[in-house]
């Protein structure tokens, strides 16, 4: 099928993008002042110059930049992202350990935002200019303007400290030895606030897009056609307009994938969520080059992957797309 061949091309196009990110990130981060060995030595208290030099050698920081670059690319192709001297562990191992929670957080926030955003957008569009529309619009505007970290802190104060309904932070209750279903529930409880903090902004965004998109569809000729067929309004909405109106939301969702990762840095820091965002911030602070490179690479791969998924969904929903 031509349409899926098109998807293949998109897949092919993703590769140079990923490679470009690899190249850019490497040189961008090398531009930064500071040397990882001195940071590591700093952590060690008053280290001697000899000791610092030892560290520098250990981590290949004494080699020429070009050599480091080719080493990095060659390794990245084998998905070996080097060694994090600060964490004393392979980068890929560190990231993989953090990938799960971040993916969980992002996908949960993402899918809930898309699902509820679509729903609210439809509700607002249907009841255009009613009080329901007004409430939804005002709420989305406020969510849209609220800093994520602020929202997170407020959620903690209200729901953890004052009401004690939800755990303040973390991924799960360690040491309780939860298994299976119980563990899932436990993780879900920990997820509520981070997902809400991260997702509300996007929820507001998708609500706005969906509302506008629905209103746009309302005036379309095919809607009149469907009415002329004798189709009921409800069916017109669900059967005809929804899918058409959803396409811009999907496109927007793809565009926002990169920002979602950025948002999770802040959210993860606030909620002690053990994900890539926290890792990235710590890595940035301690100038852990290999780790940063790895995180950027993986984030970009993640964004590319999400975009591909969005692309696939779009292809599935929109028959017009083809190579």
């Amino acid at each position: 099928m031509r349409r899926w061949r098109y998807f293949g091309y998109r897949l092919l196009f993703a590769l140079p993008v990923v490679f470009g990110i690899l190249v850019l990130n490497f040189f961008l981060i090398r531009l930064a002042p500071g040397d990882a060995a001195s940071v590591l030595a700093g952590e060690s208290g008053a280290a001697s110059p000899e000791y610092t030099e030892l560290l520098r050698q250990k981590f290949g920081l004494d080699r020429p930049v070009i050599e480091q670059f080719f080493l990095y690319i060659a390794n990245a192709l084998r998905f070996d992202l080097g060694f994090s001297f600060r964490n004393d562990a392979p980068v890929s191992e560190l990231i993989l350990a953090r990938l799960g929670p971040t993916l969980l957080l992002m996908l949960a926030a993402f899918s809930l935002a898309v699902a509820f955003g679509t729903l609210l957008g439809v509700l607002a569009a249907v009841a255009r200019n009613s009080w329901r529309d007004a409430v939804i619009s005002v709420a989305t505007l406020i969510c849209y303007a609220t800093p994520v970290f602020w929202l997170g802190l407020m959620l903690i104060v209200v729901f953890s400290v004052n009401l004690a309904w939800l755990p303040t932070s973390g991924f799960e209750d360690i040491g309780q030895g939860y298994e299976g279903w119980e563990r899932g529930v436990d993780i879900a409880r920990h997820m509520v606030m981070p997902v809400a903090a991260l997702g509300l902004f996007y929820l507001a965004l998708y609500t706005r897009v969906m509302r506008a998109s629905m209103l746009e569809q309302t005036g379309m000729d095919y809607v009149v056609t469907a009415r002329a067929k004798g189709q009921s309004e409800g069916r017109i909405m669900l059967g005809h307009m929804l899918r058409n109106a959803f396409l811009p939301v999907l496109t927007m969702a793809g565009v926002q994938a990169g920002n979602l990762i950025g948002g999770s840095v802040v959210v993860e820091t606030v909620f002690g969520w053990p994900g890539i965002g926290t890792l990235a911030f710590n890595a940035l602070q301690s100038r852990d080059l290999n780790l940063l490179l790895g995180i950027f690479f993986i984030s970009a791969c993640l964004v590319v992957a999400i975009n591909l998924i969005v692309e696939a969904l779009t292809i599935a929903l929109d028959p017009r797309i083809q190579a």
């Binding site: 002042p33 500071g34 040397d35 990882a36 001195s38 940071v39 030595a41 700093g42 952590e43 060690s44 208290g45 008053a46 280290a47 001697s48 110059p49 000791y51 610092t52 030892l54 250990k58 600060r86 964490n87 004393d88 562990a89 560190l94 350990a97 953090r98 929670p101 802190l153 903690i156 104060v157 953890s160 400290v161 004690a164 755990p167 303040t168 932070s169 973390g170 991924f171 209750d173 360690i174 040491g175 993860e268 820091t269 606030v270 909620f271 002690g272 053990p274 994900g275 926290t278 890792l279 911030f281 710590n282 940035l284 602070q285 301690s286 100038r287």
Partner: protein, 538 residues
């Protein structure tokens, strides 16, 4: 001492009160200990590695001292107490120390503990890869092992500071067979430590927690009481406080809890607090002046800056009362040994601002048209928010004497390079813990031999005083305490007069704990020692 000079991020908040607190236990265990349970302690930030034998970051020992043990531990007066060494004798000349070791101790991997492990830990690990080894063990020539339960330390010169530096957080005893024939820095046990302590390493879920499990074959009978210790990592301060308040976490030491939250937490009925357990990690916030700069090369200018700062304000508003003004390079925790003196030039006089302005005039820096005498940069310590607050205060304070201070906030690596390699700074605001002995934590900031480009947290001020060099050198070898105290008193007077830096505040750390957790702080090392006797009420 390995804790020395670490600009501890947790540090900040705390100190000076501690020496005055009585040695009595903070809590009187009224009920019989209960076995079992999981203790959750907050460690902040997450350690980057558990290779405590090679890295002296302050966030590592809370975890590793549960696993590794040292030869000695200390009582509330910092007097050596048995640990893996059951007894010891020091020769007349102070150059030979003989340790008798505990019998029946095994490592977590089943290997028996012997004097060979002690020898290996000191000669191969501590002396070679421990960043503080060159200082603490400078005089250690060799370790003899006449029999498996005896270790003899041979010193080149007497080292009065050595006996206070042998606890697990300073020099952990590692298992020789685990390390032999490998690169210590790359040893797999770096992050899966194998020791003799009451808890065994369980798992490390990066970004979340480290789990430590009860060592069933621990050599102290009936211990430990807890089944498990979870060290949790929560990056956000407010969230850490919340975790304690909701009972999710039981214990937080150093500056894991923000000073601003401490009063509120102390009012919480389920929480208790103590300032004990920081006996060898007394911390002082200081300013370092780059004396290579022509402005700062003038003693009057440096003194004027010292006069301009209201240390009590910093204590009250930035440390939220958890600390006290510092008077000089030695912390008042050294009062017990007699090293500390406050008989130095005092900057906290009522007319300090007039004096400061007069000194600036005398130094030849009249106020310009806009009231500014000179402009300087302050390098913001990147290890925590409070340093930015302190910088903001200093900007106001120095403004009063006509110094226009610009704050520069850079990432850690850049900061370190600027201040300790490039020497491209005016004023730096680091934070040092003094260690158990001045030799470990104080000397390196002031002796001229410690002007070593590229080495962090040493004398970056370009302070060269032959008198101070001579006095400190003598104090290193002097084993008579009274004479040693004299030397230090003299050195303090000279240094305060020279003011190569400004000594701001001694920080009082506060440990916040859940009242269900009992018997957690029973040594001066606090969270730098094992929770072998701690237990949880049901």
């Amino acid at each position: 001492m390995t804790e020395s000079m670490r600009p501890s991020r947790r540090a900040l908040l705390s100190s000076a009160v501690l020496a005055t607190v009585g040695p009595a236990q903070a809590q009187a265990p009224a009920r019989a200990p209960v076995r079992g349970g999981t203790m959750v302690m907050i460690v902040n930030p997450e350690p980057s590695t558990l290779a405590t034998y090679a890295v002296s970051a302050g966030n590592i020992p809370p975890v590793t001292t549960q696993i590794y043990e040292g030869l000695l531990t200390y009582d509330w007066e910092i007097r050596p107490q048995p640990m893996l060494a059951k007894s010891w004798t020091v020769s007349e000349d102070g150059k030979t120390i003989t340790f008798q070791l505990q019998e029946g101790v095994t490592f977590h991997n089943g290997q028996p503990f012997t004097s060979a492990d002690v020898q290996y830990s000191f000669m191969e690990i501590a002396k070679k890869v421990n960043p503080n080894g060159p200082v603490i063990l400078a005089e250690l020539q060799s370790v003899d092992t006449p029999d498996p339960m005896t270790a003899v330390f041979n010193l080149a010169n007497p080292a009065p500071y050595l006996m206070v530096s042998l606890s697990a957080n300073n020099i952990p005893i590692v298992c020789k067979s685990v390390f032999e024939g490998t690169q210590p820095l790359q040893n797999p046990s770096a992050n899966r430590p194998v020791g003799t302590g009451p808890f065994k390493f369980g798992e490390w879920n990066r970004g979340q927690f480290i789990r430590l499990d009860r060592n069933e074959r621990y050599w102290k009978p009936g211990l430990p009481l807890l089944n498990r210790i979870i060290a949790r990592f929560i990056p956000d301060a407010a969230t850490r406080s919340a975790a304690l308040e909701t009972g999710e976490a039981h214990y937080a030491a150093y500056s894991a809890v923000n000073a601003a939250d401490i009063r509120r937490m102390q009012a919480n009925p389920i929480l208790g607090s103590t300032t004990q357990g920081y006996g060898t990690t007394a911390a002082t916030s200081v300013l370092e002046f780059n004396m290579r700069r022509p402005n700062l090369a003038k003693k009057e200018v440096r003194q004027a800056i010292c006069y301009a700062i209201d240390r009590q304000f910093i204590v009250d508003n930035i440390l939220h009362g958890f600390g006290k003004p510092a008077t000089g390079p030695l912390s008042s925790v050294f009062t017990t040994q007699g090293f500390y003196t406050d008989q130095v030039r005092r900057f906290d006089v009522p007319d300090r601002l007039e004096i400061a302005n007069r000194l600036m005039d005398e130094a030849g820096f009249p106020r310009g048209a806009n009231g500014v005498r000179m402009s300087l940069f302050l390098e913001i310590n990147s290890f925590g928010e409070q340093w930015l607050r302190q910088g903001e205060y200093l900007k106001q304070a120095l403004g009063q004497i006509g110094i226009n201070l610009t704050l520069r906030s850079e990432d850690t690596a850049t900061w370190l390079r600027r201040c300790y390699t490039d020497y491209d700074f005016d004023i730096n605001e680091p934070f040092y813990s003094a260690g158990a002995d001045p030799v470990v934590g104080v000397h390196r900031h002031y002796v001229s031999s410690a002007i070593r480009r590229g080495t962090t947290f040493v004398n970056n001020k370009d302070y060269r005083s032959p008198d101070v060099d001579r006095l400190m050198d003598a104090a290193t070898r002097e084993i008579v305490p009274a004479r040693r105290a004299e030397l230090y008193h003299e050195a303090q007077r000279i240094m305060v007069e020279d003011s190569p830096g400004a000594w701001l505040c001694e920080v009082q750390y506060v440990t916040i704990f859940n009242k269900k957790l009992q018997n957690h702080t029973n040594r001066p090392l606090g969270t730098y020692s094992a929770f072998d006797r701690a237990w949880l009420e049901r």
